[in-house]
Symmetry: D4
Subunit: 253 residues, 8 copies
Amino acid sequence: MGMDIEKLLAGVKDGSISTEDAMLMLRKAPFEDIGYAKPDSHRAIRQGVAEIIYGAGKTSEQICGIMDKMRENGQETILITRLDEGKARVISEKFELKYNPEGRIGVNGPYPEPDGIGRILIATGGTSDIPVAEEAAVTARALGNEVKCVYDVGVAGLHRLLSHVDDIMNASVIIAIAGMEGALASVIGGLADCPVIAVPTSVGYGASYDGISALLSMMNSCASGVSVVNIDNGFGAGYMASMINHMNRMGNR
Amino acid sequence: MGMDIEKLLAGVKDGSISTEDAMLMLRKAPFEDIGYAKPDSHRAIRQGVAEIIYGAGKTSEQICGIMDKMRENGQETILITRLDEGKARVISEKFELKYNPEGRIGVNGPYPEPDGIGRILIATGGTSDIPVAEEAAVTARALGNEVKCVYDVGVAGLHRLLSHVDDIMNASVIIAIAGMEGALASVIGGLADCPVIAVPTSVGYGASYDGISALLSMMNSCASGVSVVNIDNGFGAGYMASMINHMNRMGNR
Amino acid sequence: MGMDIEKLLAGVKDGSISTEDAMLMLRKAPFEDIGYAKPDSHRAIRQGVAEIIYGAGKTSEQICGIMDKMRENGQETILITRLDEGKARVISEKFELKYNPEGRIGVNGPYPEPDGIGRILIATGGTSDIPVAEEAAVTARALGNEVKCVYDVGVAGLHRLLSHVDDIMNASVIIAIAGMEGALASVIGGLADCPVIAVPTSVGYGASYDGISALLSMMNSCASGVSVVNIDNGFGAGYMASMINHMNRMGNR
Amino acid sequence: MGMDIEKLLAGVKDGSISTEDAMLMLRKAPFEDIGYAKPDSHRAIRQGVAEIIYGAGKTSEQICGIMDKMRENGQETILITRLDEGKARVISEKFELKYNPEGRIGVNGPYPEPDGIGRILIATGGTSDIPVAEEAAVTARALGNEVKCVYDVGVAGLHRLLSHVDDIMNASVIIAIAGMEGALASVIGGLADCPVIAVPTSVGYGASYDGISALLSMMNSCASGVSVVNIDNGFGAGYMASMINHMNRMGNR
Amino acid sequence: MGMDIEKLLAGVKDGSISTEDAMLMLRKAPFEDIGYAKPDSHRAIRQGVAEIIYGAGKTSEQICGIMDKMRENGQETILITRLDEGKARVISEKFELKYNPEGRIGVNGPYPEPDGIGRILIATGGTSDIPVAEEAAVTARALGNEVKCVYDVGVAGLHRLLSHVDDIMNASVIIAIAGMEGALASVIGGLADCPVIAVPTSVGYGASYDGISALLSMMNSCASGVSVVNIDNGFGAGYMASMINHMNRMGNR
Amino acid sequence: MGMDIEKLLAGVKDGSISTEDAMLMLRKAPFEDIGYAKPDSHRAIRQGVAEIIYGAGKTSEQICGIMDKMRENGQETILITRLDEGKARVISEKFELKYNPEGRIGVNGPYPEPDGIGRILIATGGTSDIPVAEEAAVTARALGNEVKCVYDVGVAGLHRLLSHVDDIMNASVIIAIAGMEGALASVIGGLADCPVIAVPTSVGYGASYDGISALLSMMNSCASGVSVVNIDNGFGAGYMASMINHMNRMGNR
Amino acid sequence: MGMDIEKLLAGVKDGSISTEDAMLMLRKAPFEDIGYAKPDSHRAIRQGVAEIIYGAGKTSEQICGIMDKMRENGQETILITRLDEGKARVISEKFELKYNPEGRIGVNGPYPEPDGIGRILIATGGTSDIPVAEEAAVTARALGNEVKCVYDVGVAGLHRLLSHVDDIMNASVIIAIAGMEGALASVIGGLADCPVIAVPTSVGYGASYDGISALLSMMNSCASGVSVVNIDNGFGAGYMASMINHMNRMGNR
Amino acid sequence: MGMDIEKLLAGVKDGSISTEDAMLMLRKAPFEDIGYAKPDSHRAIRQGVAEIIYGAGKTSEQICGIMDKMRENGQETILITRLDEGKARVISEKFELKYNPEGRIGVNGPYPEPDGIGRILIATGGTSDIPVAEEAAVTARALGNEVKCVYDVGVAGLHRLLSHVDDIMNASVIIAIAGMEGALASVIGGLADCPVIAVPTSVGYGASYDGISALLSMMNSCASGVSVVNIDNGFGAGYMASMINHMNRMGNR
């Protein structure tokens, strides 16, 4: 915003912009050019990585239109979330598209070179949690992160999780994804020395109540360094993890 | 019931009881003498162990009265649950009483010799769960079981739990007690090869909602061989564990 | 784990394994060979009984693959839970399969000889609870138990339940399955002198809320010796009951 | 209302009331004299029985004032509900008062002669439910009913309930009061052939959630002929039961 | 039960039944012949009215089988609840059947002559509540009651309800059926001087939550003489109302 | 009501109506002609604007029938809510119909000239809330209001909302529609100096629970001058806003 | 905001403010002088009426300090909400204070002359709802409204409410306050032709759950023209009602 | 763990440790010396910062004992959470203690030099949220972070929040703390380009339900880059924020 207002005020000073026009511009669009807010409410972390389109509730035509404009603006990588298979097929007739059907997420353009602090580890309690994990993984990769996934390491078979202790110790951020009793976040939180993002999933039956059981478990985790995103919100977890993994960009604060 | 009815029918046959009287007796009290149901709904497991008095909602005088009658009947060990400190003091003026203030439970008479299949292990996630564990432990001991307690072995510090792997492998029944996210039951359930009784506790704050978070977690445990009793119900867990640990008494079924 | 570490240490001692290699092996796989944890988180109770495959979320090809490997390893009886009719048909083209469509559960190989302490009684409140009961029954049989089922003995028609008092008195473990008000567990718990596993079901309408009413009822049972598994979790109840019914295998603890 | 309007219209016709006045009177008080609605929203069942004062939120002075007016109007029996002990003491300095401290309910004047169809049976699951039962019992007696109470006949000790089968079979209406799992209503509903009013109570701990568990149980009762009033609402149950027990007064409908 | 036991004892006395056999018979079937409990847990009110079959979860073949047996036993009127249209069609090929598609309920045989105390009034808040009302109406008629229905008299248009004040004042029992805010029960409860059975319905949208809003409203009704049955339970309300309307049969208690 | 009663009383006075008939008419229909209550519980605000038909649960034939009668009575504008596309097609064969498929609402006849105090602003948090907004907009227009809609101005992109500050400052009533966290109502409530009607929507996933999250948020809004209608209730919001925007008609109170 | 920016830009133009300073001022305080937002988030409706202080969580000293400053600024009437009796006593030693202990609300200075469109009617279902009503009444009066209160007109005694039909018909805005089943809002909404603000209260017992039952009822009201504020939020209702009653001030929009 | 095992293996190799002893040591304490897990389940981020004692449920004597041991081990800064005022007074007699009564948190020893990436901003919606904020602030400072707090910037007075846009833009991590509708997290999440940790608080009344309203709001935040910790969990937020702010320590991953 700084530069723009500076220019505006300079214009007022040198007479090229009238006081009335300046006032109007300031009232009408005080935040319009700030640049850190995006059409889909996704905040861009930094230059050079993917732009994001939230696919749900948009037609494939609308999505293609947005993609056209983005590419015109020079955007190299575009991430489309909540994209069902039918729309993906239509879009891929016009654009190159790497589509992940489990995570219902697509990428146009190359994955950027990973430039984060370290590796993001994504762990799931069971195999049914994999779609959420895939959404998180593609998101994180498209935002410039190295990602490793370990699936089906739920706490009821502790040996499976413990065989990945090295991965846990070497991660810079961990995304722990689990349904049912959601204990995975607490156990990983106790083992790791990096931030853990917990994602409850709606996997389960009986008294799991579409994820509320896992959500409450994760909120009540007795481990420190664990925070939680919404049920099944793989994108949100990947985005948050990427933000943390790129804290190296914040050196000047 | 068998013997009584047999006598009754014999009496009818030899004329010492009239048909009308017999019919009346049968209608009035068909289950009265069965013997396997008790005044406090606690089912006696077998001869020789503790009778149980549910202390809440009874005056210390009433409790003493029941104890008098029990001792007259030759009962050696009496267990009194939900007994607050004030009543315990009054009772101990008249009866020998081992009172456990944390578990709010008292025992009159000697603990019976352990005669179960093996050892019951009682594990808690945190120190705040100890009152529930003490109630379970005293209950199980009074019912003739060897008991070992390991406290504060919650899953967020896995090394604490894993240092007790031998105890877990050697138990015949395990009682897993935890509040907050209640993950302890799943982890122990995955490590042990014996039945696990899970007890959610009302310990926690924020979104733990007086135990409902732990309760849902435990109901949704992804480990097999785990079942759940009511929130904070240490007595119920101790009773159930003792029943399982005395399955050796059921050989003739 | 014992033997392996012993061998490893011996190898270090005699120089056949270097210190560095030994250290790496210890870190990488501390729990890998323990043997008491299984791929599907089901804990094997003892040798000679069924291995278990959790069918939901696996293709019939994957299930066949696992079965092949199990049979190669000499497994005689294999239990497949949450198996829908379509997959069952595909599997039965390759393997002998006793499929129970109500319980959505299949068994390959012979049922093992019952070798438990006594008989497991499975009782349901209504006819709609039968699918859950069937899942429990097949599970218990495949794990080496004698099972008897009595259906539609809900408490609103007490005479139906009371006509089975002998079965209740003679069981070694009872599984009480009910939806709606879930009172069956309390009533049976009051009559029986053996452990009772309660299973709430999602049967009912109106304010039954997919089993939560029955779940809360059973958690609050005023009878002792009752514990609860998840809503509709017939497998879990059968597994727990079998564990208790085989406590005779735990003599050496 | 009939008579009043008739008089009014007659007055209009004979000119003693102006059209304008009549219109005003009709608008202002269309329902004022109907007589079947009472200051405390309690509907009087018929002449000769108790008037009712809802004591909560009224000072003892206010209650005395209302009682004065009622007695002036010739009311012989007055029932005061939700009356705490302190207020009861003050009132009894001025009025004769039979106060029931458990049920927190008081009666001034004689109990009317029972003139209902039969006897109302009040049954509770446990001893802690007795206060609710006492409120129901005093209410029913003050409204002209014969009442019998059987306490602590919860379903976990079925023999206790079954020893009262005669009472159940002979009642004209039954009030079933229970907390915890609330199964009493279903079991009695299955045994009796008269209407059953179920009252959930807030008795219990853990997951009983102040009566919601019992409320849901009773709503889901699989027995017919059972309906439910609010948690701990002994008065409401007594009132409803009395209404049913006096259906003999409705012959002319 | 009386006669049977009397015969049994007489048989023991005269030697025609051995003591052992008598004991066995008593244990096996103590309640089998009582007669007041029915296969579908519906309690028969008195002779001469409809038997009831709960249709859900039964095939049309099973229903026909039960009907055959009932008719053989001389039953003239049979009521089948929760009967979907397809099964009704099959059944009506074999039996005369008056089928009510809205209430999903069918009647075989003539409606009995109304012999209750008075008329049952069934009122609904809106038109969407009519299916529940129809189920109640058919049930009550088949059980021998005169029934009047007034629909769409919800409290937001009070004039509609008030135009039926005469019906309200003249009813012997009222069934008040409403979804959404469920206020109808309170308003009718305040106007009527007879028992009111309230039925919450799952009608509504937004925060009505499948009837829980109406259910809570009705439980909290500030009117006396109102009790509640389960959400959408028209049958239960009709059954309860009929029981109350036939209290004239209970004169001898 | 005034005029009718006046006529009635005059008739009584001049003998043209008998006293008995008058009484009967007064009892039977005291509120029938009042005019401010409508068949669909929608209260007409004033003459000259739309009549409303609630379309759900009515056949297109029934709707046409009601429309016929309304037009006969001289009604110019008719609003039909909750009208699905199929019925709309049938109706438009017979009547001119402006149908809004998103809001599932139709208008027959011309929109009345706006005659309210000012402009109603309708704002949504996201694009998925638009159907609810359209229902509100069509309702408000048909009731004689000028309406402006701004969509997708959720609080996570504050600049989008702030670019509409002028619209907010110039509105006479604002309808704030949002799902998920429902924060829009609070933020607008803090910016505006006119009444705000908040509408939670069922838009969202995970822990949004069909609108309950947004509903609770809006109820707890820390801004004054905000009140809430039911989840997804666009009609109710449009109706309430119109009522407030026509307070100029209430000058004589 | 207009004027200030105009001045600023003029200053930039004539050189009296440097471009840098102007930019800083614009960034730092873009909204600081807007004037329509207040320290306690209460939005002033217009000049001449009460300023509002939210008393909870402020010491009496802090409140006096704020009052001092307000009076210095020429404020004549000050409203203090959520003010307990102790603080009120301290404040009244320094300031004239009309304190309403039931509504826990105080007023310093004269009530302004009523200048709204008409009269605000405040109605409660029971006497226990009066504190909430008093808070609403004092708020509305201090904001310049004529107020009439009618208490204890709950729907279970409809005659009480109907005797106030004139008040309902003559009000410009109605506040309907009720706990328990909350039906008052629907019934009044059906009778009135002005906006109705509904306030659920936490009054009730049993399944009223601190107002949630009344809240859900009111959200689901089948009457149009009803919106809801938070449980027990008398201030919010009075504020909203005043806003609506002063729509005459909005003529220029 | 590395070094210890290396030493152990070396000991085995050179014979100073027997194979048997080594095996025992490995089984008994496989995780005991790892160092990244702490007695209070708090994970140490790195050397040189505070150790943490969880004060709740510990006596002041126990806390002093732990502090003694920590100081012996050379710990310079000790943080004690959930520490009530009474215990703080006792501890401060023995140790220097900076006690924050609002946050109920104490610090012994100097605050470490801030060495994180940037500044942590802590923002609250209202003044009642300050205790949670203080707990977060002291935690973050004791863990080596620069902290800035801005209080009472709730979204209903947007100008208050917008006057802190610079602080928001310059923070490296933000902790957003709010009760009631919890919208603060979404609004800040939309403005900031750094990770946001949201903390719901139990502040509010009516339908805020002890924080559940705020919790659901925050879980459903439509802004990316927001994750949530438990209700009122200021410590957890401060800990997580510090972890993220020290990602500069993770360069070697």
